[in-house]
């Protein structure tokens, strides 16, 4: 056996150590023990080098104390090689008593209880804080040795009696919590406090490979949270002395099978089909929207999709700008003081206005519209130049007049489809050469005295039996503001329309000439203008007298039948009745006296019904508390705005 050479070396070592130990400064009470221990220790360190030999020596594998009251040591069995018979292996131990180190090796008291190749030391042989040394011998030769204290080799037994209880199940029925309980190993004296253990629990699903570990705990029960109900789990626990020693073996595996809850036991609430409702609601709304969009019902369309008002300058029709009628724009913009339009020399509007006083029969031949629309610029121009004089030309630049006219024109323009450029031009005030207002109020100089060529025309495309040619339906005479009644003394620009010829011509009748020079025609004109649909819009003002005029005139005018209370744009002439119908308001002091009553030329405005128009007071002007211009009762828009909110 190769052991022999090592044995020789051992004794040499021991001798050396003896010499060394003698010189130790330590208390020499135990030199032998020291040497022996050292020898054993050296033996252990030397042995590894010697283990390279093929023969397997019996060695200590493990010494263990499960409860600090007993311990046992195990060793490997010797492999017999060849003929070398291994004698019975013996274990000897020694322990240091109090202040006494006995070199006496005692043999193992129990070779059986711990199994084969083991030595069991019961409680009488075990002392916790006293170190032990053991050695293994075979045939008298020390094979292996070891020194330790019992505390170092403590390894508790596994816990026992694992069981689990269900704590609760989640609302979804998918997860559950359990409480795992166990008992301490029975041989560990917990009650007396001899051992204090801590435990570690591990669990995993049955088909998993890796265990999940929990933190060490001191108690013997622990909750395990969030286990899946449909899975089966394995649980195991091991124990360890608190803060020292090694973990013991694992306990037996505990199988946890959670009860399958009936997952359909949840309350069957009525599932309100919100989704369906939302989908169908959106679908229905979409259908309705498309119906409205593509329907011809303008009103509904207006209701749902109100037209977006385009930017609009007061008094300017966008179509004007489109068509490039700069002159018209200029006239309109001339409302504002700061804007002085260019004074075009070629005022084409004048070409239409032909003051032909000396041709009374012309009205029968051709309509004044023709004259108005005639391209004889010079003629009309000269006519105007002759007759115009200073009548009101300057007045054309008065802001109020201009404004009102332009507004009236604008309103009319905006609502009507004026396609005839001539119409635009023809709206110039007879007196105002540079004015190009297009007054919807049909001016007709049908006064026999004046034989004005101005033709009142409803420019509307509506088939109105207006006294115009169908072509020149858009011809309109300008609303001439007569600021200076006296200026009209010589000229009658207004004539009453007495009849409308089937041809469409307007038959003017000699109007009543009043002292103010304002002939009845004017009144009629004004009345007609009053009857204009313009008054629907704001700034369309008329004298009450004119309104009254509408009454008598109305029978002569076929358009009367077309007058509608609603005063739509197709109406040109409006009777007083219709006026009162729409403009009827409490407090309206308008009263319509008999047509035979002398109607004053100028009346004051009693009330302005915007946008329907103005109701003029029959009383003499001015109305108390209100300032009105001395003009024929027509109040400019500015004044109106001052008066009315």
């Amino acid at each position: 056996m190769n052991w022999r050479p090592t044995g020789m070396d051992l004794w040499q070592l021991l001798l050396t150590l003896a010499l060394a130990g003698s010189s130790d400064a330590f208390s020499g009470s135990e030199p032998t023990a020291a040497i022996l221990s050292r020898a054993s220790w050296s033996l252990q360190s030397v042995n590894p080098g010697l283990k390279t030999n093929s023969s397997k020596e019996p060695k200590f594998t493990k010494c263990r104390s499960p409860e600090r009251e007993t311990f046992s040591c195990h060793w490997t069995d010797a492999v017999h090689h060849g003929s070398k018979s291994l004698g019975p292996i013996q274990l000897f131990y020694t322990r240091r008593n109090i202040q006494e180190w006995t070199q006496e090796w005692k043999e193992c008291p129990d070779y059986v209880s711990a199994g084969e190749n083991s030595c069991y030391f019961n409680s009488s042989f075990t002392s916790v804080w006293i170190p032990y040394c053991i050695k293994l011998t075979s045939n008298g030769d020390t094979v292996d040795g070891k020194c330790f204290s019992v505390d170092e080799i403590v390894q508790p037994d596994p816990p026992i009696a694992l069981n689990w209880t269900l704590l609760n199940v989640s609302l979804t029925g998918i997860h559950a919590d359990i409480q795992v309980r166990w008992e301490a190993p029975p041989n560990a004296d917990i009650q007396k406090g001899w051992m204090v253990l801590e435990y570690e629990l591990q669990y995993k699903e049955v088909n998993e490979t890796k265990w999940k570990m929990m933190d060490p705990i001191l108690s013997t029960s622990v909750p395990v949270y969030s286990l899946k109900v449909d899975k089966e789990y394995e649980v195991r626990v091991r124990s360890k002395r608190r803060n020292s020693g090694n973990y013991g073996e694992f306990s037996e595996v505990l199988y946890v099978t959670l009860p399958q809850m009936n997952q359909f036991t949840c309350e069957e609430d009525f599932y309100f089909p919100w989704l369906l409702i939302i989908i169908f609601g959106i679908f229905g709304l979409t259908v309705m929207l498309f119906v409205f969009l593509f329907s011809k019902q303008q009103r509904i369309k207006m209701l749902i999709l109100p037209p977006v008002p385009v930017p609009k300058i007061k008094g300017i029709d966008p179509d004007l700008l489109k068509e490039g009628k700069l002159e018209e724009v200029n006239t309109i913009l001339a409302i504002h003081d700061s804007y002085k339009p260019e004074f075009h020399s070629d005022d084409s509007w004048v070409e239409f206005i032909e003051l032909d006083i000396d041709e009374p029969d012309e009205k029968n031949e051709g309509s004044d519209t023709d004259r108005l629309l005639s391209s004889d610029h010079q003629k009309s121009h000269s006519n105007l130049g002759v007759k115009d004089g200073d009548s009101g030309r300057t007045s054309c630049y008065e802001p109020d007049i201009l404004e009102t006219d332009f507004n009236a024109n604008n309103i009319h323009e905006g609502t009507s489809e004026v396609a005839q450029p001539q119409r635009l031009k023809g709206e110039a005030d007879l007196l105002c050469l540079d004015q190009k207002n297009q007054n919807k109020s049909p001016y007709h100089d049908a006064c026999p005295a004046t034989q004005q060529s101005s033709v009142i025309q409803a420019e509307k495309n509506k088939p109105q039996p207006l006294p115009t040619d169908g072509a020149e339906s858009t011809h309109q005479a300008a609303h001439i503001q007569l600021s200076n009644p006296s200026s009209l003394a010589n000229i009658d620009f207004y004539a009453q329309v007495s009849d409308i010829t089937p041809a469409g011509s307007v038959v003017l009748s000699p109007g009543q000439k009043n002292k103010a020079g304002m002939s009845q025609c004017d009144m009629h004109l004004e009345m007609v203008s009053l009857c204009q649909e313009d008054f629907i819009m704001d700034n369309a003002y008329f004298c009450e007298a004119d309104a009254k005029k509408c009454i008598p005139v109305a029978p002569h005018i076929k358009v009367e039948s077309h007058i509608e209370p609603s005063f739509n744009q197709e109406d040109i002439y409006i009777t007083t009745e219709s006026l009162t119908t729409t403009a009827g308001r409490p407090g309206t002091t308008e009263h319509i006296p008999g047509s035979e009553m002398p109607v004053p030329d100028y009346t004051s405005i009693h009330i302005v019904q915007s946008p329907q128009g103005l109701i003029l007071n029959a009383t003499a002007l001015p109305l108390p508390g209100k300032e009105f211009l001395s003009s024929c009762g027509y109040v400019s828009t500015d004044q109106l705005n001052k008066i009315m909110p």
Binding site: A25, F26, A34, Q99, V128, C147, D189, I190, G193, W194
Partner: protein, 227 residues
């Protein structure tokens, strides 16, 4: 605060700081005023705190020993020398459970107190010597300081327990005296290291004993052997 209020502010601050400083020195174990008829803290709490302290001291000792061994003496065969007796070996300490159960309660307590008292001086010198070493190992030094501190507090607690459990016990001042100081100061490094090793080894063992004894006593006295 305006300037006028600053003196008051300063004095208040001083008072606060002094309170904190004084509070620091309050021992965790409630100190019953000397001569008080009865303490306010229950015996159970006293034992609980004592066990906590002893457990803590044992852990520190084990760590300190492991660090020392790893750093200075590992693999150098010092373990054999440590089997030498500790200065407390003369005390009749029970070595196993049966012996511990046989010893009576009063003797048990006085035994524990004696062990604790006997370690006052060695710990003090240990700290002094380690601190005086060149390249003083901070880990070992800090632990030594802590062990010394906690051992004193544990002793105070044990004295309280004794006064409660056995009020008639006369204070026994007899305890083993440690004489290992010269060996700690030896010039020979080997010898010095061996002395340190032995001291730390003994400290670890005795702290383990004290911890164990206290747990036994606690279960015996408080829980009536039914922890």
């Amino acid at each position: 605060m305006n300037i006028k209020g600053s003196p008051w502010k300063g004095s208040l601050l001083l008072l606060l700081v002094s309170n904190l400083l004084l509070c620091q020195n309050v021992a965790p174990l409630p100190v019953c005023p000397g001569g008080a008829a009865r303490c306010q803290v229950t015996l159970r709490d006293l034992f609980d705190r004592a066990v906590i302290l002893s457990h803590y001291i044992h852990n520190l000792s084990s760590e300190m020993f492991s660090e020392f061994d790893k750093r200075y003496t590992h693999g150098r065969g010092f373990i054999t020398r440590a089997i030498n007796s500790c200065h407390t070996s003369s005390l009749p300490t029970p070595e196993d459970k049966e012996q511990a159960q046989q010893i009576n309660q009063k003797d048990f307590l006085s035994l524990i107190v004696s062990i604790l008292r006997s370690w006052n001086e060695p710990l003090y010198h240990l700290v002094t010597e380690v601190r005086g070493m060149e390249e003083a190992p901070e880990a070992i030094l800090s632990k030594a300081v802590e062990i010394e501190e906690q051992t004193k507090r544990l002793l105070e607690g044990m004295e309280l327990i004794v006064s409660q459990v056995h009020p008639e016990t006369k204070e026994n001042e007899i305890y083993p005296v440690w004489t290992g100081l010269p060996s700690l100061q030896m010039a020979d490094e080997e010898s010095r290291l061996s002395a340190y090793y032995n001291l730390l080894h003994c400290l670890r063992r005795d702290s383990h004993k004290i911890d164990n004894y206290l747990k036994l006593l606690k279960c015996r006295i408080i829980h009536n052997n039914n922890c």
